[in-house]
Symmetry: C2
Subunit: 448 residues, 2 copies
């Protein structure tokens, strides 16, 4: 089932005329991805566009073999990476399996994501667990010098080398890094670690369908063939430049129209808790692609009905700066029949014989009506179910929509110049050689 | 150590004059909590204000006894509640122990929070786990008729009654509900369940220090005496009506000044992943208290440095509608020394001999400078460490700041009229008796 965009609840905010008046702008934005590529900002980062078909088949087989080995010989896999080297894989695992993946009785290899913070507590916890079981490490870093993953890799490499003999330790380290350059590449060559590639033409936040995402996802037992098939399906499907026919471009156009009308915060919403990390992946994808030059929609998120009891009040009656994009699924992963209760103390017997998924669907319909009545435009994306194939579709759909949306906004959707500021300050404050001048300046600002 | 507010990085946005010009407004807002109470909107919901001293000591003992019994006879505790009957307890458990509480080797009784969504998958997962172990249920609902928790309670009550004999099943159900009214109260009296009280004068989002929060928190092995002591300490400390002396009121005043200056989104930020759920608790507290009458700051959140690699780009260079409130801790829960590495492939040997908490602190300093340079005002709240006492301080500090902030904004910080809209629509769409007229209307809107 294709992903569709339901504009039914958007009508009072953006009608057909308004939407289709965007055709020319959209055609130009799309041209930056195809025929007019040479003029496009970030055109050296378009590799994700054809990835679902053009990926390295030999490496793909090696990923499956590595995942099988990890599932065979490891109680725990420690995945070390930050940003795009973290969110996609974790989002995929929670989406297809569960946010409780590590707690499920059927889980073979627990997966912990580390090196995405500088919290000692977080590292110590997983360290304690790894000391008492068999584990492997997948370190994901293009350069090998990003502080957070580099520190975590130091710690877990040392534990592996203390726990196993040299050859065994080497065999338990899986490196996903640059094809040719960087310190992690050099170290891997020297030590003989198994290597996988972060392609040059795919930026971090678009990298989930490369080895960056695929190895951890496969290690969780997820069918990565189905994932790639879903993405390939989306790649072939959302190609029409006609805005009337292409829901992917409609999504890009609508969010720009809403932004121009003063809706500066987008809440990505789903009614399944296992979507929580997909929301985080979405935030990086859109926030990092569009948040620049003083522009961009602030990406927020919610899981309903949970957050209807926390953010719901604000959405209904707060500042009218919001719009919502709701991802719904036609079929639940599993279902549960509501049964008759003899006492009916809760008064819910009128629901007896109905599946819980039905109630969840009604909650969605009820909410989308309430919120649009409250002045919050709602875009509805409809997908099939929370499996690997549908996830592949969603990844690709959202990536392409993001690229087009960024070009519509007039920014380069493939760079992230602002992320360097804190890094430079941090190196200076930590006294990294070469940053001495900056160190003195910053210390003065902290103390004054 | 008291919670302090550091305005150092705020200077270029709000100077002393601007802040202290708020004194009169703040004094009036505070008067609504004390001497001018009779004129205050929501004055029947001020019970949280004196709760840290005035709580029911007999019930407190019963909570501890119940928690001890649960830890003794249950592998799993299912906590059923939504909104304020969910977030505080979960936030506290993750703050003091770990976001991985259920995975820690030392965990005696796993705790699952259910009835806060309508996802069948989420319920089925925990149901499967409970079928193979000993478990108890704590259902938290003032009325007993809120759809989400009521459905979950139906399911788990049935499993308890199938698994244990009648008396044993009754002994494994802990009900936190209204003192006198409601269907859950009536059922509990009839069945003889252990009962705890949701006080009338404490709203859901302010209820974490009542039985609502305390029973699950104690069941996780957390010292609730220390928690209450921390809150009592804060209660006695943040009383001065002088804005110069009271960081709690300063926080309320500053966020209103920033809001008036067009900063419509507040990001609550911490550098510890175990703070993640505290951010969600914060979002309900402030979002539900302030988001009404077309007003209010949109509450967002982030965990750094993780989200510096997702939201960081937007914060640095996107729309200037943001401010950040950063909660820092003087001491980490645990620490880790960075060691020398023979090869120094990652170039991090300049950090050898430094604790990781030091690097985390520098990341904070680096970021607060980078973001303020980028035009994002930063408020810094400084607390001691992530233990029960400090958490009590934080809960009280934030609750009181929220109440004052809401009165400054000119809203009733204690109601949530907007939450009813989706509920009514949902009952109508589900065909609840009594909603027939509305049903027909809504169905027409869905289909047209």
């Amino acid at each position: 089932m294709a992903i569709s965009l339901n504009r039914h609840y958007l009508k009072t905010f953006i009608d057909d005329d308004a939407l289709f008046s965007m055709q020319e702008e959209v055609s130009e934005a799309v041209s930056f991805l195809y025929e007019n590529k040479a003029n496009a900002a970030g055109n050296d980062r378009h590799g994700w566009l054809t990835l679902p078909e053009d990926y390295d088949k030999e490496e793909f087989s090696r990923i499956k073999a590595a995942a099988a080995k990890i599932r065979e010989d490891s109680d725990v896999l420690v995945v070390i990476g930050i940003g795009g080297s973290y969110l996609g894989a974790r989002a995929a695992i929670e989406f297809v399996t569960s946010k409780n993946y590590n707690l499920l009785p059927g889980t073979k290899t627990k997966i912990f994501f580390l090196g995405n913070s500088i919290s000692p507590t977080e590292i110590n916890e997983v360290l304690a667990i790894c000391k008492t079981c068999d584990f492997s490490v997948n370190v994901i870093s293009k350069s090998g010098t990003t502080t957070e993953p580099a520190i975590a890799f130091r710690v877990f490499k040392k534990l592996l080398e203390a726990k196993y003999d040299k050859a065994e330790a080497v065999g338990r380290i899986y490196v996903t890094t640059d094809r040719a350059h960087g310190t992690l590449k050099a170290l891997s060559d020297e030590e003989g670690y198994r290597q996988f590639v972060v392609p040059d033409d795919v930026g971090g936040r678009y990298s989930v369908l490369t080895a960056v995402g695929l190895l951890p996802i496969a290690a969780a037992g997820i069918d990565i063939d189905a994932l790639m098939s879903g993405a390939a399906d989306a790649m072939r499907r959302y190609t029409s430049t006609s805005l009337k026919e292409n829901p992917c471009y409609q999504y890009a156009a609508i969010r720009n129209l809403l932004y121009r009308a003063g809706k500066k915060v987008e809440m990505m919403v789903a009614y399944e808790p296992d979507y929580t990390l997909m929301n985080e992946w979405f935030k990086q994808l859109f926030g990092e692609s569009e948040g620049k030059d003083g522009k961009g929609i602030y990406p927020a998120s919610a899981i309903y009905s949970t957050d209807l009891h926390s953010l719901g009040q604000y959405v209904q009656q707060g500042e009218r700066i919001l719009f919502e994009t709701v991802v719904t699924f036609a079929r639940p992963k599993t279902d549960l029949m509501i049964e008759e209760d003899g006492k009916n103390a809760d008064g819910l017997n009128f629901l007896a014989g109905k599946p819980l998924s039905y109630v969840n669907r009604k909650a969605f319909e009820a909410t989308v009506i309430a919120h649009t009545d409250g002045g919050v435009p709602n875009i509805v994306l409809e997908a099939d179910t929370m499996d690997a194939f549908t996830l592949g579709e969603l990844f690709y759909f959202l990536e392409k929509a993001c690229a087009v949306s960024g070009y519509l906004l007039g920014v380069n959707p493939f760079d992230q110049p602002g992320v360097e500021s804190y890094k430079k300050n941090m190196f200076a404050l930590l006294g990294k050689p070469g940053y001495e001048d900056m160190t003195a300046q910053l210390l003065k600002r902290i103390e004054e």
